[in-house]
Symmetry: C2
Subunit: 234 residues, 2 copies
DNA sequence: CGCGGCTTTGATGTTCATCAAGTAAAGTGG
DNA sequence: CCACTTTACTTGATGAACATCAAAGCCGCG
């Protein structure tokens, strides 16, 4: 992990939006210790946060911004595993069963990561069963989401795939019918298993059919219901 | 879950092969309680063990046999998530974050499930941090495997996909170059995202090229190294 | 014995990746 | 700040890969 970009900052974990997720299971002392030990690291858009093969030292989640988790194959082609939003874990489930990362992470937007020493995390989990259960629930939900999404994408044709990811950006990430795509056309292709050309071609078709409006990376969903139908039925 | 097939049996958890995985973290008393509360359920080949949407009542793992985890879409088509071997968990990670199953499970071979009340499992995990951590590690490893496999399959063409799954059966499941396919051609197709016809066509090509020998469901890998190459490079 | 499901092969057409080529945008160094 | 390089985006043409449709043999089961 790279530490050079900006200064590590601190915030009050009492205020953290993840509090209800698992800090609730801390007593005062635990929370203080956690707060003291955690560090926050800012990363600028485009920078690599974690490289495949790197040793796992921290348990970390995304505090703000947007990051992609991806794998690079032998021929250098990337495959995007998932895109993580604020308060999603960047540490996936392997975090406790592996010693090295099996994927890379890079920042799609300026982002801040909240990190805590993995050993410390384990210690807490060992001692505090409620915390540990809560953590398991959260990690499980993330894994489930990734598995589900991968299956959903796999069964769609090109039109369905593009509609699916447009709806995902609009609904799950930006909660708006108008948004700036955080990823290039190539990255969209890497996410849904298509070629860059066909992503563009499909987007252009959607534009011609007045389903969407495109202005560079800005996209507006004009007929979300129709896109929904395309996503579901191809 | 269906209980009607055969009688629930018991075994000594001290002898269980999963012992080192997490029973090690039990003290004598905990192990006794666990052993008393768990039940073993036999299912005959082809029977449905869990149906999508069903309430999650048990944490369960496969003691013997072979099962498939799958989802059924609106049009009735199945998509196989993964095939679980003995001592794999049938309960995936959602187990603690969901109340209902998001997938179905059916027996590919005569199988025995070891089940324990999910509430009891949670109680133990809450109290025993080591157990809980171990559980998390194991669940994490399973999830990771599923995610990885899904990504691997997605990036292969038909030849690569078929070679990949043949090698998986041979190496991971049966540990032999000769094995009986536990699944129909259609199920292979549902596992790797192809049509049944193209699975058969590809298998026939492999046979004509003397890469494999086929006798109904019995398959022998004659040139595993060549299949390896096909799996990796298409 | 006949029905339904599984397997297999062939013919056909659609979908999609690849190749090629050009424009636009964005970063780089003098 | 501008020429230059590189990267992103876009469209078209082509062929290969793959799904679909059709038909027939096989096997197990009621």
């Amino acid at each position: 992990m790279i530490y050079i970009i900006g200064m590590a900052t601190r915030c009050d974990c009492n205020q953290c939006e993840l509090r209800t997720a698992f800090f609730n299971n801390f007593n005062e002392e635990e929370l203080t210790v956690f707060c003291d030990r955690k560090i926050e690291l800012p990363f600028s858009r485009g920078s690599i946060i974690i490289s495949e093969g790197e040793e796992i030292k921290y348990f970390s989640y995304l505090k703000s911004g947007l990051v992609k988790l991806y794998r690079t194959d032998a021929s250098g082609k990337d495959q995007i595993i998932t895109i993580a939003c604020p308060f999603d874990f960047v540490s996936l489930l392997g975090i406790f069963s592996e010693t090295r990362y099996t994927y890379s992470v890079s920042a799609l937007e300026d982002s801040v990561l909240c990190c805590i020493d993995i050993r410390h995390m384990k210690e807490i989990a060992m001692k505090n069963g409620n915390f540990s259960m809560n953590l398991m629930e959260r990690l499980g939900a993330v894994s489930n989401k990734i598995i589900l999404e991968s299956l959903e994408i796999r069964k769609r044709n090109t039109h369905g795939k593009v509609a699916y990811i447009l709806l995902k950006f609009s609904r799950d990430i930006y909660k708006d019918l108008v948004f700036d795509m955080p990823v290039s056309r190539r990255e969209v292709a890497e996410n849904i298993g298509m070629t860059t050309e066909n992503v563009i071609r499909t987007l252009s078709e959607f534009r011609r059919e007045k389903l969407i409006r495109i202005n560079g990376r800005e996209i507006e969903l004009l007929k979300p219901d129709d896109l929904e139908r395309i996503s579901t039925y191809g």
